[in-house]
């Protein structure tokens, strides 16, 4: 079984966790100033990279806490887990040499 390293509980079985989608999405400080297109981009559009992805995970059947994880979507390998509000120490993926996908802007998806 895949073990996920909860920052609070240590390595625990995958079935105790729930994925919460892409991490590090900043809510616009003034939503009313946004155009409909930009607002829908924030609400609905997420990256779907082939490679390293920063995701939110919840240890729902354990300590109940949310945390962030860097996961390679190709190999399903968890590269790193870290508490909410902090940054990963692993900068890039060796094969890509890029930062994990964290933007939802249209140009980065193109």
């Amino acid at each position: 079984m895949l073990l996920i390293d909860c920052p609070y509980c240590g390595k625990r079985p995958e079935t105790e966790f729930r994925c919460g989608g892409q991490a590090h999405i900043a809510r616009p400080t003034d939503p009313s100033a946004l155009s409909d297109a930009d607002w829908s981009e924030h609400l609905f559009v997420r990256a779907n990279p082939r490679g390293v992805h920063a995701e939110r995970w919840n240890h729902i059947h354990g300590c109940g806490r949310w945390f962030n994880a860097l996961r390679d979507t190709v190999s399903d390998r968890f590269i790193e887990t870290y508490p909410v509000g902090s940054e990963p120490t692993t900068g890039s993926h060796p094969s890509q040499g890029t930062e994990p996908t964290r933007s939802t802007q249209t140009e980065t998806r193109a």
Binding site: E16, H61, C63
Partner: protein, 195 residues
Amino acid sequence: MLEVRYRTARTRPLARATLPAALDPGLTIRPAEAGARFSLRVRKATGTVAGLPLDGPINSLAGDDARWIARLGPDEWLIGTSETEADALAAAVASDLAGTAHALVDVSHRNVGIDVSGAKSAILLNAGCPLDLGDTAFPSGSATRTLLGKAEIVLIRWPGATPRYRVECWRSFATYVHGFLVEAGLGTTAPSKAA
């Protein structure tokens, strides 16, 4: 009269639970006595409440069989005691945490305990629990929320050398969890060879 005819007596969950004769002799599965349980949430994980420590490691147990506290997360604890002590414990916690933002919720009627003991307890529990229950990964004095089959449980391993576990589940899951354990208990013995 109507009131008499329809008067309901409080029935304890698992009051009618039975054990099959074929259960492994090295195992005991027994519904625990009714008791009081409290869910405590507070940011400050220092000091004690009602004589029970808050600063233990996450997923550890403190206290004894009669009065225990399990740290389930950075800011969450499950406290157990006898029904007669419930009011005193709640008052003690409230006075110890006076001035600190906290939530103490009585979940006594939500939780049902099942005691599992015997040498093969870990094998039995691993029939539905994905955790590593070896002595290194889950030593005595451990306590955590986890899964058993399809139900969420809190699993406690009491202090002491002999393996004794407590499975705490929600009342509505109790028949499922008890049935799951009993059925798993039938499978811990190697099947006898056909003659």
